[in-house]
Protein backbone atom coordinates (compact mmCIF):
# COMPACT_ATOMS: atom_id res chain seq x y z
CA UNK A 1 0.00 0.00 0.00
CA UNK A 2 1.27 3.42 -0.86
CA UNK A 3 2.01 5.70 2.00
CA UNK A 4 -1.10 7.55 3.03
CA UNK A 5 0.75 10.72 4.07
CA UNK A 6 3.62 12.16 2.13
CA UNK A 7 6.79 13.20 3.98
CA UNK A 8 5.79 16.88 3.89
CA UNK A 9 2.92 16.00 6.22
CA UNK A 10 5.42 16.15 9.10
CA UNK A 11 6.15 19.79 8.35
CA UNK A 12 2.50 20.57 7.86
CA UNK A 13 1.80 19.05 11.26
CA UNK A 14 4.54 21.10 12.93
CA UNK A 15 3.52 24.32 11.21
CA UNK A 16 -0.13 23.76 11.98
CA UNK A 17 0.74 23.18 15.65
CA UNK A 18 2.68 26.46 15.69
CA UNK A 19 -0.14 28.18 13.83
CA UNK A 20 -2.55 26.80 16.40
CA UNK A 21 -0.60 28.38 19.25
CA UNK A 22 -0.27 31.69 17.41
CA UNK A 23 -3.96 31.62 16.51
CA UNK A 24 -5.00 30.89 20.09
CA UNK A 25 -2.77 33.72 21.31
CA UNK A 26 -4.22 36.11 18.75
CA UNK A 27 -7.75 35.03 19.61
CA UNK A 28 -7.06 35.70 23.31
CA UNK A 29 -5.57 39.11 22.49
CA UNK A 30 -8.54 39.99 20.29
CA UNK A 31 -10.86 38.84 23.08
CA UNK A 32 -9.22 41.12 25.65
CA UNK A 33 -9.33 44.03 23.22
CA UNK A 34 -12.98 43.43 22.35
CA UNK A 35 -13.85 43.14 26.05
CA UNK A 36 -12.25 46.56 26.64
CA UNK A 37 -13.67 48.11 23.48
CA UNK A 38 -16.16 50.94 23.60
CA UNK A 39 -18.59 48.56 21.90
CA UNK A 40 -18.82 46.50 25.10
CA UNK A 41 -17.99 49.09 27.79
CA UNK A 42 -19.97 51.99 26.34
CA UNK A 43 -16.89 54.22 26.62
CA UNK A 44 -17.03 57.47 24.59
CA UNK A 45 -20.58 56.72 23.44
CA UNK A 46 -22.93 59.72 23.52
CA UNK A 47 -26.58 59.05 24.30
CA UNK A 48 -29.57 60.78 22.80
CA UNK A 49 -31.15 62.67 25.73
CA UNK A 50 -34.74 63.96 25.96
CA UNK A 51 -33.36 67.50 26.40
CA UNK A 52 -30.19 68.73 24.73
CA UNK A 53 -28.67 69.69 28.06
CA UNK A 54 -25.09 70.90 27.73
CA UNK A 55 -22.53 70.77 30.56
CA UNK A 56 -20.30 72.89 28.34
CA UNK A 57 -22.78 75.78 28.53
CA UNK A 58 -23.84 75.38 32.14
CA UNK A 59 -20.51 74.45 33.73
CA UNK A 60 -17.90 75.66 31.26
CA UNK A 61 -19.50 78.97 30.21
CA UNK A 62 -21.74 79.85 33.15
CA UNK A 63 -19.59 78.41 35.96
CA UNK A 64 -22.37 76.57 37.82
CA UNK A 65 -20.98 74.24 40.50
CA UNK A 66 -21.63 70.48 40.06
CA UNK A 67 -23.41 70.42 43.42
CA UNK A 68 -26.00 72.99 42.33
CA UNK A 69 -27.55 70.12 40.35
CA UNK A 70 -25.91 66.94 41.67
CA UNK A 71 -26.80 67.88 45.24
CA UNK A 72 -26.19 64.60 47.05
CA UNK A 73 -22.74 63.78 45.68
CA UNK A 74 -21.10 64.58 49.05
CA UNK A 75 -23.56 62.71 51.22
CA UNK A 76 -24.87 59.59 49.47
CA UNK A 77 -23.88 56.78 47.12
CA UNK A 78 -25.67 58.39 44.19
CA UNK A 79 -24.56 61.78 42.91
CA UNK A 80 -28.21 62.76 42.50
CA UNK A 81 -29.91 64.13 39.39
CA UNK A 82 -31.45 67.61 39.29
CA UNK A 83 -35.21 67.88 39.67
CA UNK A 84 -37.19 69.73 37.02
CA UNK A 85 -37.70 72.44 39.65
CA UNK A 86 -33.92 72.96 39.64
CA UNK A 87 -33.93 73.69 35.90
CA UNK A 88 -36.89 76.04 36.38
CA UNK A 89 -34.95 78.09 38.98
CA UNK A 90 -33.33 79.71 35.96
CA UNK A 91 -35.42 78.68 32.98
CA UNK A 92 -38.65 80.14 34.31
CA UNK A 93 -36.96 83.45 33.43
CA UNK A 94 -34.26 82.90 30.81
CA UNK A 95 -34.71 81.02 27.54
CA UNK A 96 -38.25 80.66 28.87
CA UNK A 97 -39.72 80.05 25.44
CA UNK A 98 -36.86 78.16 23.82
CA UNK A 99 -38.22 75.14 21.92
CA UNK A 100 -35.27 73.08 23.26
CA UNK A 101 -36.70 73.49 26.75
CA UNK A 102 -40.24 72.38 25.95
CA UNK A 103 -39.73 68.89 27.50
CA UNK A 104 -38.59 70.61 30.72
CA UNK A 105 -41.65 72.87 30.82
CA UNK A 106 -43.94 69.94 30.00
CA UNK A 107 -42.39 67.95 32.85
CA UNK A 108 -42.94 70.89 35.22
CA UNK A 109 -46.56 71.39 34.09
CA UNK A 110 -47.56 67.72 34.29
CA UNK A 111 -45.49 66.92 37.40
CA UNK A 112 -43.71 64.05 35.63
CA UNK A 113 -39.93 63.50 35.84
CA UNK A 114 -37.72 63.96 32.80
CA UNK A 115 -36.47 60.51 31.77
CA UNK A 116 -32.72 60.93 31.20
CA UNK A 117 -30.78 58.13 29.51
CA UNK A 118 -28.18 56.68 31.88
CA UNK A 119 -24.64 57.18 30.62
CA UNK A 120 -22.69 55.48 33.43
CA UNK A 121 -24.22 52.22 34.55
CA UNK A 122 -22.38 49.70 36.69
CA UNK A 123 -23.81 46.17 36.82
CA UNK A 124 -25.89 45.75 39.95
CA UNK A 125 -23.56 43.18 41.53
CA UNK A 126 -20.97 45.94 41.97
CA UNK A 127 -21.32 48.58 44.70
CA UNK A 128 -20.15 52.13 44.15
CA UNK A 129 -20.39 55.15 46.44
CA UNK A 130 -19.69 58.77 45.49
CA UNK A 131 -19.51 60.29 48.96
CA UNK A 132 -16.43 58.36 50.12
CA UNK A 133 -14.47 59.13 46.96
CA UNK A 134 -15.26 62.84 47.22
CA UNK A 135 -14.44 62.87 50.94
CA UNK A 136 -11.08 61.13 50.45
CA UNK A 137 -9.88 63.40 47.66
CA UNK A 138 -10.83 61.84 44.31
CA UNK A 139 -12.03 64.59 41.95
CA UNK A 140 -14.92 64.33 39.52
CA UNK A 141 -12.65 64.78 36.51
CA UNK A 142 -10.43 61.83 37.54
CA UNK A 143 -13.30 59.48 36.79
CA UNK A 144 -15.62 61.49 34.53
CA UNK A 145 -13.10 63.49 32.48
CA UNK A 146 -13.54 67.07 31.34
CA UNK A 147 -17.29 67.33 31.87
CA UNK A 148 -17.11 71.11 31.41
CA UNK A 149 -16.09 70.53 27.78
CA UNK A 150 -18.83 68.03 26.96
CA UNK A 151 -21.87 69.29 25.05
CA UNK A 152 -23.32 65.85 25.78
CA UNK A 153 -21.92 63.56 28.47
CA UNK A 154 -20.01 60.44 27.54
CA UNK A 155 -18.23 57.86 29.65
CA UNK A 156 -14.55 58.74 29.85
CA UNK A 157 -13.33 55.47 31.39
CA UNK A 158 -14.16 51.78 30.93
CA UNK A 159 -15.64 51.44 34.47
CA UNK A 160 -14.32 47.88 34.41
CA UNK A 161 -13.03 46.20 37.53
CA UNK A 162 -9.41 46.53 36.41
CA UNK A 163 -9.93 50.30 36.20
CA UNK A 164 -11.32 50.54 39.75
CA UNK A 165 -8.50 48.34 41.04
CA UNK A 166 -5.76 50.32 39.30
CA UNK A 167 -6.67 53.21 41.58
CA UNK A 168 -7.53 51.22 44.69
CA UNK A 169 -4.03 49.70 44.55
CA UNK A 170 -2.29 53.07 44.27
CA UNK A 171 -4.71 55.86 45.21
CA UNK A 172 -1.79 58.21 45.92
CA UNK A 173 -1.30 58.57 42.17
CA UNK A 174 -4.74 60.10 41.67
CA UNK A 175 -5.82 62.04 44.76
CA UNK A 176 -5.92 65.82 45.14
CA UNK A 177 -6.64 68.35 47.92
CA UNK A 178 -10.28 68.60 48.96
CA UNK A 179 -10.54 72.19 47.74
CA UNK A 180 -9.86 71.01 44.16
CA UNK A 181 -12.43 68.19 43.91
CA UNK A 182 -14.75 70.20 41.65
CA UNK A 183 -11.97 71.82 39.66
CA UNK A 184 -12.24 70.45 36.12
CA UNK A 185 -8.84 71.89 35.13
CA UNK A 186 -6.84 70.00 37.77
CA UNK A 187 -3.96 67.92 36.39
CA UNK A 188 -2.32 65.04 38.26
CA UNK A 189 1.02 66.83 37.92
CA UNK A 190 -0.17 69.78 40.04
CA UNK A 191 0.98 67.98 43.18
CA UNK A 192 4.36 66.31 43.68
CA UNK A 193 4.59 62.60 44.49
CA UNK A 194 5.74 63.31 48.05
CA UNK A 195 2.83 65.67 48.67
CA UNK A 196 0.44 62.98 47.48
CA UNK A 197 1.81 60.43 49.92
CA UNK A 198 1.31 62.99 52.70
CA UNK A 199 -2.20 63.64 51.47
CA UNK A 200 -2.95 59.92 51.50
CA UNK A 201 -1.93 59.77 55.16
CA UNK A 202 -3.83 62.95 55.99
CA UNK A 203 -7.04 61.66 54.38
CA UNK A 204 -6.58 58.36 56.26
CA UNK A 205 -6.87 56.24 53.12
CA UNK A 206 -6.73 52.58 54.02
CA UNK A 207 -4.16 50.00 52.93
CA UNK A 208 -4.03 48.41 49.50
CA UNK A 209 -5.03 45.05 50.99
CA UNK A 210 -8.24 46.44 52.46
CA UNK A 211 -9.10 48.52 49.40
CA UNK A 212 -8.77 45.59 46.98
CA UNK A 213 -10.65 43.06 49.07
CA UNK A 214 -13.58 41.70 47.06
CA UNK A 215 -16.20 42.61 49.64
CA UNK A 216 -15.50 46.34 49.26
CA UNK A 217 -17.27 46.35 45.90
CA UNK A 218 -19.15 43.07 45.88
CA UNK A 219 -21.32 43.11 48.99
Amino acid sequence: MAQFFSKSANNIARISMLAGVVLAGTAFFVYTQVARSSYLTGRYVERQQPVQFSHKHHVGDDGIDCRYCHTTVETTASAGMPSTQTCMNCHSQIWADSPYLEPVRASFRDNRPIEWERVHDLPEFAYFNHSIHVAKGVGCSTCHGQIDNMPSVFQENTLQMEWCLACHREPEKFIRPKSEIYNMQWQDGDLSAAERVDLKAKNKIRSKEMMTSCSVCHR
Binding site: G63, I64, Y68, S83, S92, Q93, E124, F125
Partner: protein, 242 residues
Protein backbone atom coordinates in the same frame (compact mmCIF):
# COMPACT_ATOMS: atom_id res chain seq x y z
CA UNK B 1 -0.04 11.67 24.91
CA UNK B 2 1.37 12.62 21.54
CA UNK B 3 0.06 10.94 18.40
CA UNK B 4 1.86 11.48 15.15
CA UNK B 5 -0.61 11.92 12.34
CA UNK B 6 0.75 8.81 10.66
CA UNK B 7 -0.59 6.51 13.33
CA UNK B 8 -4.13 7.86 13.17
CA UNK B 9 -6.53 5.66 11.35
CA UNK B 10 -9.09 7.43 9.26
CA UNK B 11 -11.92 5.91 11.22
CA UNK B 12 -10.98 6.89 14.75
CA UNK B 13 -9.98 10.32 13.40
CA UNK B 14 -13.50 10.86 12.17
CA UNK B 15 -14.98 9.76 15.46
CA UNK B 16 -12.73 12.14 17.36
CA UNK B 17 -13.47 14.96 15.00
CA UNK B 18 -17.19 14.59 15.38
CA UNK B 19 -16.67 14.41 19.15
CA UNK B 20 -14.66 17.66 19.12
CA UNK B 21 -17.28 19.20 16.91
CA UNK B 22 -20.03 18.28 19.33
CA UNK B 23 -17.99 19.53 22.26
CA UNK B 24 -17.21 22.88 20.72
CA UNK B 25 -20.81 23.37 19.68
CA UNK B 26 -21.84 22.59 23.26
CA UNK B 27 -19.30 25.12 24.62
CA UNK B 28 -20.54 27.73 22.18
CA UNK B 29 -24.15 27.15 23.15
CA UNK B 30 -23.26 27.28 26.84
CA UNK B 31 -21.34 30.53 26.39
CA UNK B 32 -24.15 32.06 24.37
CA UNK B 33 -26.64 30.87 26.94
CA UNK B 34 -24.72 32.59 29.73
CA UNK B 35 -23.74 35.58 27.66
CA UNK B 36 -27.26 36.72 26.91
CA UNK B 37 -28.44 36.44 30.50
CA UNK B 38 -28.20 39.60 32.60
CA UNK B 39 -29.84 38.42 35.84
CA UNK B 40 -26.90 39.60 37.92
CA UNK B 41 -26.45 42.85 36.00
CA UNK B 42 -30.11 43.81 36.33
CA UNK B 43 -31.36 42.49 39.63
CA UNK B 44 -35.00 42.70 40.72
CA UNK B 45 -34.35 45.57 43.15
CA UNK B 46 -34.43 49.32 42.76
CA UNK B 47 -31.12 50.96 42.08
CA UNK B 48 -31.45 54.73 42.59
CA UNK B 49 -33.50 56.31 39.76
CA UNK B 50 -34.41 52.95 38.25
CA UNK B 51 -37.82 52.97 36.67
CA UNK B 52 -40.54 51.05 38.49
CA UNK B 53 -42.82 48.71 36.56
CA UNK B 54 -45.07 48.39 39.60
CA UNK B 55 -46.19 51.93 40.38
CA UNK B 56 -48.27 53.57 37.69
CA UNK B 57 -46.22 56.78 37.69
CA UNK B 58 -43.00 54.80 37.19
CA UNK B 59 -41.24 56.29 40.24
CA UNK B 60 -39.33 53.81 42.40
CA UNK B 61 -38.60 56.36 45.15
CA UNK B 62 -41.93 57.13 46.78
CA UNK B 63 -43.03 60.27 48.57
CA UNK B 64 -44.19 59.91 52.16
CA UNK B 65 -47.96 59.47 52.42
CA UNK B 66 -49.64 62.76 53.27
CA UNK B 67 -49.81 63.52 56.98
CA UNK B 68 -46.96 61.22 58.08
CA UNK B 69 -43.66 62.23 59.66
CA UNK B 70 -40.46 60.23 59.31
CA UNK B 71 -38.68 59.41 62.54
CA UNK B 72 -36.43 62.28 63.61
CA UNK B 73 -37.92 64.73 61.12
CA UNK B 74 -40.72 66.22 63.20
CA UNK B 75 -39.28 69.73 62.86
CA UNK B 76 -40.86 70.82 66.14
CA UNK B 77 -38.42 73.72 66.49
CA UNK B 78 -40.34 76.38 64.54
CA UNK B 79 -37.60 79.02 64.70
CA UNK B 80 -34.98 76.59 63.33
CA UNK B 81 -37.10 75.28 60.47
CA UNK B 82 -39.08 78.36 59.40
CA UNK B 83 -37.15 81.39 60.66
CA UNK B 84 -40.44 82.79 61.94
CA UNK B 85 -41.58 83.86 65.41
CA UNK B 86 -43.99 81.65 67.34
CA UNK B 87 -47.55 82.08 66.08
CA UNK B 88 -46.76 84.30 63.08
CA UNK B 89 -49.70 86.42 61.98
CA UNK B 90 -50.30 86.02 58.22
CA UNK B 91 -52.47 89.15 58.08
CA UNK B 92 -49.99 91.47 59.74
CA UNK B 93 -49.50 94.82 57.99
CA UNK B 94 -46.03 95.16 56.39
CA UNK B 95 -44.47 98.47 55.36
CA UNK B 96 -43.72 98.87 51.68
CA UNK B 97 -42.13 101.42 49.39
CA UNK B 98 -42.13 101.75 45.62
CA UNK B 99 -38.76 101.79 43.89
CA UNK B 100 -37.70 103.71 40.77
CA UNK B 101 -38.92 100.92 38.49
CA UNK B 102 -42.38 101.06 40.04
CA UNK B 103 -42.07 97.74 41.93
CA UNK B 104 -43.41 97.40 45.45
CA UNK B 105 -40.67 96.60 47.95
CA UNK B 106 -41.36 95.13 51.38
CA UNK B 107 -39.35 96.94 54.06
CA UNK B 108 -40.53 95.45 57.35
CA UNK B 109 -40.57 91.82 58.42
CA UNK B 110 -42.63 91.57 61.62
CA UNK B 111 -42.94 87.75 61.52
CA UNK B 112 -39.22 86.96 61.11
CA UNK B 113 -37.00 86.08 64.06
CA UNK B 114 -34.13 88.45 64.79
CA UNK B 115 -31.70 86.03 66.44
CA UNK B 116 -29.92 82.98 65.03
CA UNK B 117 -31.45 79.78 66.43
CA UNK B 118 -28.00 78.11 66.05
CA UNK B 119 -24.69 79.14 67.60
CA UNK B 120 -22.70 81.40 65.27
CA UNK B 121 -19.17 80.03 64.99
CA UNK B 122 -16.36 80.32 62.48
CA UNK B 123 -17.18 76.80 61.26
CA UNK B 124 -20.75 77.86 60.58
CA UNK B 125 -19.64 80.87 58.53
CA UNK B 126 -17.06 78.79 56.61
CA UNK B 127 -19.73 76.22 55.80
CA UNK B 128 -21.99 79.09 54.73
CA UNK B 129 -19.33 80.44 52.39
CA UNK B 130 -18.94 77.02 50.83
CA UNK B 131 -22.71 76.63 50.29
CA UNK B 132 -23.18 80.24 49.13
CA UNK B 133 -20.57 79.70 46.43
CA UNK B 134 -22.48 76.66 45.17
CA UNK B 135 -26.08 77.85 45.23
CA UNK B 136 -26.20 81.65 45.35
CA UNK B 137 -23.08 83.02 43.66
CA UNK B 138 -24.44 82.27 40.16
CA UNK B 139 -27.03 85.06 40.57
CA UNK B 140 -26.01 87.16 43.58
CA UNK B 141 -22.32 87.38 42.69
CA UNK B 142 -19.25 86.80 44.88
CA UNK B 143 -19.97 89.60 47.40
CA UNK B 144 -23.74 89.76 47.03
CA UNK B 145 -23.89 92.79 44.76
CA UNK B 146 -26.42 91.03 42.52
CA UNK B 147 -24.11 90.70 39.50
CA UNK B 148 -23.68 86.93 39.10
CA UNK B 149 -23.05 85.12 35.82
CA UNK B 150 -26.70 84.15 35.26
CA UNK B 151 -27.77 87.79 35.73
CA UNK B 152 -25.29 88.75 33.02
CA UNK B 153 -27.00 86.12 30.84
CA UNK B 154 -30.37 87.85 31.20
CA UNK B 155 -31.88 86.81 34.55
CA UNK B 156 -33.63 89.70 36.37
CA UNK B 157 -31.13 91.35 38.70
CA UNK B 158 -31.57 90.67 42.44
CA UNK B 159 -31.14 93.55 44.91
CA UNK B 160 -27.71 94.07 46.49
CA UNK B 161 -27.32 92.78 50.06
CA UNK B 162 -25.62 96.04 50.98
CA UNK B 163 -28.48 98.53 51.02
CA UNK B 164 -30.05 99.71 54.27
CA UNK B 165 -33.21 97.65 53.80
CA UNK B 166 -31.44 94.28 53.72
CA UNK B 167 -28.74 95.31 56.21
CA UNK B 168 -31.48 95.97 58.74
CA UNK B 169 -33.64 92.98 57.81
CA UNK B 170 -33.87 90.31 60.53
CA UNK B 171 -32.03 87.01 59.92
CA UNK B 172 -35.33 85.15 59.78
CA UNK B 173 -36.18 87.02 56.57
CA UNK B 174 -33.09 85.69 54.77
CA UNK B 175 -33.91 82.19 55.95
CA UNK B 176 -37.46 82.57 54.69
CA UNK B 177 -36.24 83.77 51.26
CA UNK B 178 -33.94 80.74 50.87
CA UNK B 179 -36.64 78.36 52.10
CA UNK B 180 -39.70 79.61 50.22
CA UNK B 181 -38.33 81.90 47.53
CA UNK B 182 -39.07 85.58 47.02
CA UNK B 183 -40.60 87.16 43.91
CA UNK B 184 -38.67 85.92 40.89
CA UNK B 185 -36.35 83.76 42.99
CA UNK B 186 -37.35 80.12 43.68
CA UNK B 187 -36.98 78.48 47.07
CA UNK B 188 -34.01 76.18 47.77
CA UNK B 189 -35.45 74.06 50.59
CA UNK B 190 -35.30 70.93 48.39
CA UNK B 191 -31.53 71.14 47.87
CA UNK B 192 -30.23 72.88 51.03
CA UNK B 193 -30.81 71.50 54.54
CA UNK B 194 -32.07 73.83 57.30
CA UNK B 195 -28.67 73.79 59.07
CA UNK B 196 -26.94 74.81 55.85
CA UNK B 197 -29.51 77.54 55.20
CA UNK B 198 -28.65 79.12 58.57
CA UNK B 199 -24.97 78.80 57.67
CA UNK B 200 -25.63 80.76 54.45
CA UNK B 201 -27.51 83.45 56.39
CA UNK B 202 -24.55 83.81 58.75
CA UNK B 203 -22.25 84.15 55.73
CA UNK B 204 -24.51 86.83 54.17
CA UNK B 205 -24.23 88.77 57.46
CA UNK B 206 -20.44 88.39 57.23
CA UNK B 207 -20.54 89.70 53.64
CA UNK B 208 -22.58 92.71 54.74
CA UNK B 209 -20.05 93.36 57.48
CA UNK B 210 -17.18 93.10 55.00
CA UNK B 211 -18.70 95.84 52.83
CA UNK B 212 -19.46 98.13 55.79
CA UNK B 213 -16.86 97.43 58.47
CA UNK B 214 -18.12 100.24 60.74
CA UNK B 215 -21.64 98.92 60.82
CA UNK B 216 -23.04 97.23 63.92
CA UNK B 217 -24.87 94.17 62.64
CA UNK B 218 -26.89 91.72 64.63
CA UNK B 219 -25.00 88.41 64.66
CA UNK B 220 -26.33 87.27 68.00
CA UNK B 221 -27.73 83.81 68.58
CA UNK B 222 -30.69 83.19 70.84
CA UNK B 223 -29.66 82.03 74.35
CA UNK B 224 -31.15 78.60 73.77
CA UNK B 225 -29.24 78.06 70.51
CA UNK B 226 -27.50 74.70 70.30
CA UNK B 227 -24.28 74.32 68.33
CA UNK B 228 -25.17 73.82 64.68
CA UNK B 229 -25.88 70.18 63.82
CA UNK B 230 -23.43 70.64 60.93
CA UNK B 231 -23.20 68.75 57.67
CA UNK B 232 -23.07 65.34 59.37
CA UNK B 233 -26.66 65.70 60.55
CA UNK B 234 -27.65 66.73 57.07
CA UNK B 235 -29.81 63.75 56.22
CA UNK B 236 -30.92 65.30 52.99
CA UNK B 237 -31.65 62.66 50.42
CA UNK B 238 -32.37 65.07 47.63
CA UNK B 239 -36.12 64.60 47.73
CA UNK B 240 -37.86 66.18 50.70
CA UNK B 241 -35.86 69.04 52.17
CA UNK B 242 -35.51 69.19 55.92
Amino acid sequence: MFLSSRQWTVDSGRRRKSLYCLLSVAVCLLAAGCGVRFDMQDQPRYKVYKKSEFFSDGLSSRDLPAGTVARGLLKADKALYTGKIDNPNPNVQVETTTNAAGNTIVTSFPNAIDEFPVAVTKELIDRGQDRYNIYCIVCHGPVGAGDGMIVRRGFGAPPTYHDDRLRNAPVGHFFDVITNGWGKMNGYAASISAADRWAIVAYIRALQLSQNPDENLKMNASPSAAPSPGPAANNNTGGGGN
